[in-house]
């Protein structure tokens, strides 16, 4: 079935560098996307979201880019810190007429080296 997937299972970056985590989705009808951060032993934590009428949205040190033409989503973390080490999931919310479910991708584990 259709699902959201991530290109890389692991990403290692140096503290202070920028991180880019990518995600490909396959349901062209989805119009709401969310990035979650999950630290060990904790539940997913909302980071940032974006709707399909936007191609970019910025938060504090994080930016989400959406390219609907190629169905690609990315999360950029500026000046990555050790506290950013976690698994990052992109997720899409299916349209209401397809159940309105939150579908998670596999996840990318980000490791920040001091």
């Amino acid at each position: 079935g259709e699902s959201v997937g991530l290109h890389l299972p692991t990403l290692s970056v140096q503290e202070g560098d920028n991180s880019i985590i990518n995600c490909a989705y396959s349901n062209s009808a989805s119009d709401y996307f969310i990035w979650y951060k999950q630290e060990s032993g904790k539940g997913p934590q909302f980071i940032i979201d974006i709707r399909s009428n936007m191609d970019k949205r910025q938060g504090q040190r994080v930016t989400v880019l959406l390219n609907k033409t190629v169905k690609h989503l990315s999360l950029q973390i500026a000046a990555t810190q050790p506290g950013d080490s976690a698994v990052y999931f992109c997720a899409e919310i299916l349209p209401d007429n397809q159940g309105g479910k939150l579908i998670f991708g596999q996840g990318t584990e980000l490791s920040v080296k001091p």
Partner: protein, 114 residues
């Protein structure tokens, strides 16, 4: 504001035993979700409640799983009898009104079935 509360945080049981998980959503959130997360994967929806009504339980294994949200606030998820394959993290989430809004997750209950 308190987040989603779950208990217990950890549970170890022998196969064929029953187990129950409890969730209290964020105050004022009408929609409540139960997810299961296997190791290294993203959460997968089991059931969604809007107030006290289960509006999507298509992914809930009804032969052994049951859930309730009697007063439209807190909820209980039960497994009876548990099987080895039920070992996972069980996450509860809530959103303000509908599934088309941001979902906020609790810390989860880590279940180990021996």
């Amino acid at each position: 504001e308190a987040g989603v509360v779950q208990s217990p945080r950890y549970k170890i049981i022998e196969k064929k035993q029953p187990v129950a998980f409890w969730c209290n959503p964020i105050s004022g959130h009408n929609t409540l979700y139960w997810y299961r997360q296997n190791l290294g994967q993203g959460p997968e929806l089991l059931i969604r409640y809007e107030n006290e009504e289960a509006v999507d339980d298509s992914q809930l294994p009804k032969d052994r799983f049951s859930a309730e949200r009697l007063k439209g606030v807190d909820s209980t998820l039960k497994i009876q009898p548990a099987e080895l394959g039920d070992s996972a993290v069980y996450l509860c989430a809530s959103s303000l009104r509908t599934s088309m809004e941001t979902q906020y997750f609790g810390p989860g209950t880590r279940l180990l079935v021996l």
